[in-house]
Amino acid sequence: MIEQNIHSNTREARCKAAVRTGETHPLIDVRNVVKIYNSLAGSVTALQGIDLQVYAGEFLVVTGKSGSGKTTLVNMVTGLDRSTSGEIWVAGSPLHNFSMEKAAKLRGKTMGVVFQSFELLPTLTVLQNVMLPMDFARRYSLREQRQRAMQLLEQVDIAEHARKLPTALSGGQQQRLAVARAMANDPTILVADEPTGSLDSATATAVIDLFVDLVRQGRTILLVTHDKDVAKRGSRTVTLADGEVIGVEEREGTHA
């Protein structure tokens, strides 16, 4: 059982992280973000004025119970959805002011997203799934896209399945593929929403190991999970409840 060393999300904590990574400006800066969903049943406030900073090289884990606002926070940070109010800065860009189109371009350049249900394109091969974000970003030539995709597949240990369709892979392999796809444009930030939620524990451990490796290689990761064991692997864990940050747990480095 991990000791729940709960801190409030104070300027002090943020400064500690900045000192540790040597960065003074956060890569992701969420400022007083509110998200309200309107439905027939009435309004639901999913995020109630969240403040959160993620610094370069951090492995930040956001945890909390179901309905605490974790996925909503991921959607805000990745620009997949708009906040009701507040500011979101990603790599110095005001994402909260961006159109959907501009947000997509920013994601293509600086952010890789991994989903719980993998969200692979079923009609593309494993290799083509990894090449697609590069194609959209127009970052590499076709030959380079191919070479880079193969390297990424080797990195996640599924290179031998390059020509298969995603449905021919196991759950763990599909999530590795999703990670490789997220890495395609060499993003500085990787955002993962419950990446182990659909996996068995052994496969989940392997996928988290992969994230830890990526952090060691200098990536910044924001990972959302409700799994306490997974949460332990992060360098910092932020706990949400009812759309609010209720605690921050700091660790020294990532846990291999």
Partner: protein
């Protein structure tokens, strides 16, 4: 090597073959319908024009009572107003079609078959020119005669001379009314044969081409000049006609058909447009989640839009690859069928480029436009919402009044009934209202057009009923000359089975316009008016029928008022009868075609005005039994009786035959309408199948959820089938209402083109019920097949379905 995004397009196209097939077929059937209608319309119009031009059509015909020779023909040819003239002998004879059963036949005798200068007759097959003592039959007349080339037929001349002749071949004479329309075959013989038949040498029909044949007024003037010339030469002119420039005899009907085809083409166009929009938007809805994923990994809107545009264009190309060749084949077959029916040769069978262009524009540009709207709507939705909305929460049911109407409190009566699947189906139907609206528009248009086609068919039948309803007799005998009315009536009553008799006189007349010009030949019929008369009022479109108190009143066909703008209800019409001008007042118009201009006047008044009191040209009788066989037997007995009495009958018409002839005129339209109805059923049906199948495919995950909570496969299929049936029923209800004004429009257009007045409105209940059955079957099948396929997957597979 292609970019990965294009691999996705290719794999999406060929990976899901069922979906591709459904989309391509839905689009192809609409494009096929447009192709077949537009192409057939052009092929027919061009064929008609070229066939007609090839025969050197006459501007008019002048018939003489006394035979004339080449000298008079030369005199007419030398007239400066006449570009060309030719002559032939036209004889009404009888032909034995079965032992003891005689039919009218028109015989043409031409001096030199290889040098016909006007209204050319050409060889279709067999001997040419007609050998001595043998006959050629017009190619369209062979089925009417019930004979074949090589058969021997017995011909009875007006002089009662009977001869047997071999049918030596077939002639092609498009200037004549196709034989099946008035059931009168045409035969072609030489003058030597005519002599053998006991008739003297000589022509009685002049056909002239005016110097400016395209100018109808001038052509009419020239025909009048020729007629005057003939009269000055001492010939009696019983008939002279001016042809409509550039028109074959059945042009009115054909134009009506082409108009109908054009209207149906436009309707098919709308149908195809909605079918394409529907299909493409359904496809995009299905791909919503994948679009969101691509946005999530950095795909720009234009990039993703480009992918889907290429995809829908590919569907369009595949649909065009099916629709263009099939449409071409269909158009050629349909054109050939109609050309055979109307007895003209088609010129080129080339498919007009504008038809293909229309198909290509609809097949390629429309899907692109159709995909833009849902795509732009999609752009407004965040990727997060699109990805979550794809699951079972799809649609926003519950937000508006329709949803609330279908919610629990309003359906209190269902609480104790075991109809949960039905309620689920009904509510499901209204979940995606945009899609529902598109599907309903497509299906409602198809329903309305299908039902309207049946309504027009029914209206045509009602119109025929109206046209002959006023004939209260069974048999009409027309005589070679006038007889005393009381004498022929008494003779008729001597024949057993004849119960009542009546008479009328008929005489040729010409309308004299205010500028002094004369119209073409009209037939004036003067029946007796009164309660015991065997002629009732025809279907009156305006004004009234004649009454015994009328003096100079006439009732004219509605088409005449359209052709002659100076005429009108209540206005005077000046008619030239036996060379004398007389003024009449138009008291009513009847539903009538312009190709057989008839004018009705009172018997008593007209016989007095023409010094023919007590005379009759035609005898009308009623028989005890009214079935076709009895009436035919009575007509035969009457003909024999009058022959024995030395009264010369020139023509016998029976009501059953008249009805068959009138219906035959509309047969072509009815046949075409049926082809169109089948085509539209196919368009609508496939559209429904495509939409329903895509709807079900889209909800494959929902099927998994239903099964996961314990729904049996049958229960799942039931939910979707009921949803399909609900949509089908809604479209049927709306289509049946829309069919009312649509039928009125088609009836007005078709009736206007053929008769100058709308067809008698009739709503076809059989058509309505037939479409209900078709819609219900299609809805059930369209929903069942994909639902059954989905139910064969395991719950895990279904829930993971993408």
């Amino acid at each position: 090597m292609l970019k990965p995004r294009w691999y996705k397009v290719i794999n999406d196209l060929f990976g899901n073959k069922t979906r591709t097939l459904l989309i391509v077929l839905s689009m192809a059937v609409g494009l096929f319908a447009i192709g077949i209608i537009l192409s057939a319309r052009t092929i027919l119009s061009e064929g008609l024009a070229s066939s007609f031009a090839a025969i050197q059509p006459s501007s008019g015909t002048v018939r003489t009572l006394e035979p004339f020779d080449e000298d008079f023909l030369q005199a007419v040819r030398s007239m400066p107003e006449v570009q060309e003239a030719d002559a032939r002998r036209n004889i009404s004879a009888r032909v034995e079609v079965a032992p003891g059963e005689w039919k009218n036949i028109t015989l043409f005798v031409i001096a030199d078959y290889n040098d016909i200068r006007v209204n050319k007759v050409t060889s279709e097959s067999g001997a040419w020119p007609p050998p001595e003592r043998e006959i050629l039959i017009e190619r369209a007349a062979l089925p009417v005669l019930g004979s074949n080339v090589g058969d021997v037929v017995r011909i009875k001349m007006p002089s009662d001379t009977q001869r047997e002749m071999r049918i030596a071949g077939l002639a092609y004479d498009p200037a004549q009314l196709p034989a099946q329309f008035d059931s009168t075959p045409y035969g072609y013989i030489s003058f030597k044969t005519l002599e053998w038949l006991g008739e003297p040498y000589g022509f009685n029909e002049l056909q002239v081409i005016a110097t400016h044949p395209e100018d109808k007024v001038w052509a009419q003037h020239v025909v009048n000049l020729v007629k005057d010339r003939a009269e000055r030469s001492g010939y009696t002119i019983p008939l002279s006609m001016t042809a409509e420039p550039g028109q074959l005899p059945m042009d009115d009907i054909l134009q009506g058909l082409l108009l109908l085809m054009g209207s149906l083409g436009i309707l098919s166009l709308f149908l195809s447009v909605f079918l394409v929009i529907n299909t493409v938007s359904a496809l995009l809805a299905q791909q919503k989640r994948q679009i969101a994923v691509m946005k999530a990994i950095g795909g720009g809107s234009l990039q993703i839009l480009g992918m889907y545009l290429v995809m829908v264009i590919s569907y369009g190309i595949l649909a065009l690859l099916i629709a263009i060749p099939l449409g071409t084949l269909g158009a050629r077959a349909l054109s050939q069928m109609l050309a055979t029916m109307f007895n003209f040769n088609l010129g080129t069978m080339e498919i007009p480029p504008q038809t293909m262009l229309t198909q290509i524009v609809i097949g390629l540009v429309l899907p692109v436009l159709a995909s833009l709207f849902p795509f732009l709507v999609n752009l407004r939705i965040s990727a997060a919402e699109a990805m979550s909305a794809y699951t079972i929460g799809k649609g926003r049911f519950g937000r508006n009044w329709i949803d609330r109407l279908l919610s629990g409190p309003n359906l209190w009566f269902t609480r104790k009934l075991s109809i949960r699947p039905l309620l689920l189906s009904i509510r499901n139907t209204f979940r995606s209202k945009g899609r529902l609206a598109l599907t309903l528009i497509t299906l409602t248009l198809a329903s309305a057009t299908f039902v309207s086609v049946f309504n027009v068919r029914s209206s045509l039948s009602s119109t025929v009923d109206d046209m002959i309803e006023w004939f209260n007799f069974d048999i009409m005998l027309t005589f070679d000359r006038s007889y005393r009315a009381d004498k022929i009536q008494q003779e008729a009553l001597n024949v057993p089975g004849i119960t009542q008799t009546d008479v009328w006189i008929q005489l040729p007349a010409r309308m004299v316009r205010s500028d002094g010009s004369e119209s073409g030949m009209m037939y004036m019929f003067a029946p007796r008016i009164g309660d015991d008369a065997l002629i009732r009022s025809p279907a009156i479109s305006e004004g009234r029928w004649l009454i015994p108190e009328d003096d100079n009143a006439v009732v004219v066909p509605s088409a005449l008022l359209q052709d002659e703008p100076e005429l009108g209800l209540g206005k005077e019409i000046v008619l030239k009868i036996y060379g004398k001008e007389q003024s009449f007042r138009i008291v009513g118009t009847f539903v009538g075609s312009s190709f057989a201009a008839m004018i009705f006047a009172d018997y008593d008044y007209l016989t007095q005005a023409t010094n023919r009191v007590g005379e009759a040209d035609a005898l009308l009788v009623t028989t005890r039994a009214h079935d076709a066989a009895s009436v035919e037997a009575e007509s035969k007995a009457l003909e024999e009786h009058f022959e024995r009495m030395g009264l010369r009958v020139s023509m016998i018409s029976t009501l059953p035959r008249e009805r068959a002839d009138a219906e035959a005129i509309f047969d072509a339209i009815v046949a075409l309408l049926l082809v169109m109805a089948i085509l539209l059923a196919l368009v609508g049906g496939l559209g429904l199948m495509g939409t329903m199948s895509i709807n079900v495919l889209e909800r494959t995950r929902e099927i998994g959820v239903l099964r996961a909570i314990g729904a049996p496969n049958r229960g799942v299929a039931q939910v979707f089938i009921l949803e399909g049936i609900t949509i089908g029923l809604l479209s049927w209800c709306m289509g049946s209402l829309l069919a009312i004004p649509m039928t009125q429009g088609l009836n007005a257009a078709l009736g206007g083109a053929t008769m100058g007045t709308p067809l008698t409105y009739s709503y076809s209940l059989p058509g309505l019920w037939l479409w209900l059955v078709v819609v219900l079957l299609l809805s059930a099948v369209a929903s069942f097949i994909p639902a059954r396929n989905a139910s064969r997957l395991t719950v895990r597979e279904v829930l993971a379905y993408e």
